[in-house]
Amino acid sequence: MTIDAQTFAGQRSHDEAFSAVNKEQLQRRHQIGKVFELLSIASIMVGMLFLIVLLVDVFIDALPWLRPQLFTEFPSRFPERAGLRSALQGTLWLISLTALFSFPIGIGAAIYLEEYAPKNWFTQFIEVNIANLAGVPSIIYGLLGLGLFVRSFGLGRTLMAGALTMALLVMPVVIVASREAIRAVPSSIRQAAYGLGATRWQVVWSHVLPMSFGGILTGTILALSRAIGETAPLITIGALTFIAFDPRGPFDIFTVLPIQIFNWVSLPQKEFHDLAAAGIVVLLVVLLSMNALAIYLRSRFQQRW
């Protein structure tokens, strides 16, 4: 059998009509492609480079201030005597209270939407609402907290007001994460439970919640880790930047770690900037731990069904 290029003479050779298939044009098309590929890798590299430079810069600035006094001292006019004591306690209090308020309501809302809600316009309205709330800037939540909790509820600029504000802020995150976890429970389990005559709440309490527990826990921890880094809403409700005592309860005025960082970086002296860097290191370590915890819990509670 011969390979005969003449057999294609019956069909017009159109190679000359396609200018971009000759050798050099093809080369150029490939070159353009290569340049583009490099540019697109570069975009990711820019992000990565930025991250590395940021972390290194922060760490170097923070180094001399990473010592026990950072945790034991209150803020002070003198950098050598300044520390995160009140801020860390404030953060701890705030996160605990935020969790206390947001988890039951957020998880409850998720259960309602996944297990109980009828498919009507009102349910859809709720869902659209939650999606929109997730996109509202955090400082608006601060204004809400200021007008509602600080003023109307008369709570003043206390931990309570702050926690309620933060609870509303992280609620959409809790709801979305919990819904995903609940949705992941296979319907066959529910069917089996219903088939045995269980009521809806019994199905939820005895089967759905235990099985989605891992996912819900992970989601809530992630929500909290977002709350820890929030600054704007708390400034707006009046969390102060200079608190030099241990908080005495949920109705006390307070400050939190990111606000302390903000305060120090706003001061002119370089020492305070470096103190801010030290605060950032502490903040990042806390966040890292929380995320690591969430990942660990996610794998620990990973159900295989």
Partner: protein, 276 residues
Amino acid sequence: MSISLDIKRSKREKSISADGYPESVALEVRNLNVYYGPFKAVKDVTMDIYARRITAMIGPSGCGKSTVLRCFNRMNDLIPGARVEGEVNLHGQNIYAPDVDPVEVRRRIGMVFQKPNPFPKSIYENIAWGARINGYKGNMDDLVEESLRAAALWDEVKDKLRQNAYSLSGGQQQRLCIARAIAVRPEIILMDEPCSALDPIATLRIEELMRELVENYTIVIVTHNMQQASRVADYTAFFMVDDSRTGYLVEYGESEQIFTRPKDKRTEDYITGRFG
């Protein structure tokens, strides 16, 4: 017991043989082996695809016919972990040689897929896109019309060229995909089960189209429909899969011979429906 054959194809190829010239080879396949990672999907395929003929590849599911087809235009390159050994020679040149550009191979060897996949663009744009990418310098309107005529679609869409391609029926979309493939003037058209997503009437139209196209193009078609292969194909290759799920070529020859006087018992078993 033989299946009834419906030999509707024209006898024009016989006139070439009458001239005494042997069949010209469009594509030489030599010792083709395909691996997906460690798994050997196809082993040792050797066959000649003849120019301006319709060659069908048949066989049970999973026997590697689509894999082999995709080797002919280096589509398997796009699958991570896929590896091809052996030669596929176009004009005597191995398309898998290291200095060969797969982009160029794919323009010369076009493909029509199982499920019609027109671009989310207008009918006109679907056809013009491929030509434009390859730097077509001529009159685009003419090219679009020519391609649509060749795909027997022109009369149905000539008044709605700017409409979205998804407004067409399944059969029309597939003919659009054929027109799209033709627009870049390939030498060979590969068709991977082109009718399996279509109704019987649309299928027949595509089969008629194939017989028209084969006057200018070499066509290789994968099909799991034996009747279709016997209807349209000049040559038929029968594949099977062995115990380790590796596909291989059992028998290859003129369709008439394969379907009436198969040389291999396994071929006979398949076409008479004893298995598969």
